[in-house]
Each structure stands twice: as C-alpha cells, then as structure tokens.
C-alpha cells in the first residue's frame, strides 16, 4: 500500500526491523508510545492499525 519495507518503517520510528516483524507476527505487543508512532507515521488513527482484543494477553500477563 505504502510501498514501504519493514526496514524503512523501523528506521523512521527508531526501532529494529525485528521489532516491526514481531509486532506483525503478534509476538510482541508494542507500548502505547510505539503504537502512536506507527499510526502517526501512516497518518491514521491508532484503531486503524491496532485492534484491541480482550482475549489477547497484555505484556503484563506475559
């Protein structure tokens, strides 16, 4: 859609590519700060990028 690689996105928001990959694969739940950075990068609301699921364990649960 944005013709963007994980590396580009990672560099733009100041994280490792592996972190972007982990978020995509639902292995890591980003902090609110990082979630906002990602959504702002795409110029959309946070709910359009991340969906809150009651069943998904939070980082604290993990």
């Amino acid at each position: 859609m944005h013709n963007l690689t994980q590396e580009d996105l990672a560099r733009a928001i100041g994280v490792n590519r592996q972190t972007i990959l982990a978020i995509e694969k639902e292995k890591y739940i980003p902090s609110l700060d990082l979630a906002f950075k990602i959504s702002r990068y795409f110029g959309v609301n946070i709910e359009e990028v991340f969906v809150f699921d009651e069943k998904t364990p939070t980082i604290a649960d993990k």
């Binding site: 100041g14 994280v15 490792n16 592996q18 972190t19 990959l21 982990a22 995509e24 292995k27 980003p30």
Partner: protein, 148 residues
C-alpha cells in the same frame, strides 16, 4: 563508534584483564584483579554507550528486563542459601558440642571449596541469564523470519 569497534575494544579489555589476573596470581594480590575487573566493566559500559549503529528499542529492553528478573529470582535464592551455610560454617555457628564429646565436627566444606562453589554459582548465573535471554528473545519474536 561502530559495533565492530566496540567488540574490538571489548576483546582488548578482556585480554588485559586476563593478563592482570595472571599477574595478580603471580604477586598474590587479589585486590589488583578485583579493582581491574571493576575498571574493566566500567570501561565496557562507557564504550557501549558510544556505539551508534545499534538500536536498543523497547522490545530489547523488555527482553533484557525479563531475563534479568527471572535470573535473579532463581539465583539469589540459591546463592543466599549457600552463602548463609558457608558463613555459618566459617564462623562456626552453631558450635554445639555433639553427644557430649566437646569436639567440633569436621568442616563439611573447607573455605577454599566454598569459594570455588560460589565462583561456580556465579558462572551458573551467567549461563542462566543467557538461557533466559534466548528464551525471551524467542518469545518476543527475535528468531521470526518473513518473506520480505
């Protein structure tokens, strides 16, 4: 500073520490290696702060944090349990005479052996930390691959 430069500096510090260790054994001065070890670690930390091509993001912090917490949860119990026993043995507490003989039983562990075991436990802590780090890195997607 580049990552590889840091590893080079780290290797040099390790080599110097090895030399200082050998020298302190030669002159029977353990204080020398103790001070050198602390200085060496401080230098490594200072050098690490200068590395610019490594991004330490929140997921890395999370992995480090979890691995450290789990390591300490296990390590402090084992280390303290052994150390309490070792201190009691060293201070000869309690020194109750056994069966009226008035003779203190022989040491279960000689002090030198206690030192070796404590050193072994410290080495075990490093392995424990590495193990937990690998576990949490895997859990938080460090070994994930994609088709990109």
């Amino acid at each position: 500073m580049k990552k590889n430069t840091f590893y080079l500096i780290f290797g040099c510090i390790a080599l110097v520490l090895l030399f200082v260790f050998w020298y302190s054994v030669e002159i029977h001065t353990p204080l020398l290696i103790e001070i050198a070890f602390i200085i060496g670690i401080v230098l490594v930390y200072l050098a690490k702060r200068k590395v610019t091509d490594v991004i330490n993001d929140e997921r890395d912090v999370k992995i480090t944090e979890q691995a450290t917490i789990r390591t300490m949860q296990i390590f402090w119990v084992v280390f303290c349990a052994f150390s309490i026993g070792a201190v009691m043995e060293t201070l000869r507490i309690p020194a109750f005479p056994r069966q009226g003989s008035g003779m203190r039983p022989a040491d279960i562990l000689p002090p030198r052996m206690m030192g070796y075991i404590q050193l072994g436990l410290l080495c075990l802590m490093i392995f424990l930390y590495v193990g937990f780090r690998i576990y949490y890195a895997k859990k938080y997607g460090d070994f994930e691959t994609d088709e990109e």
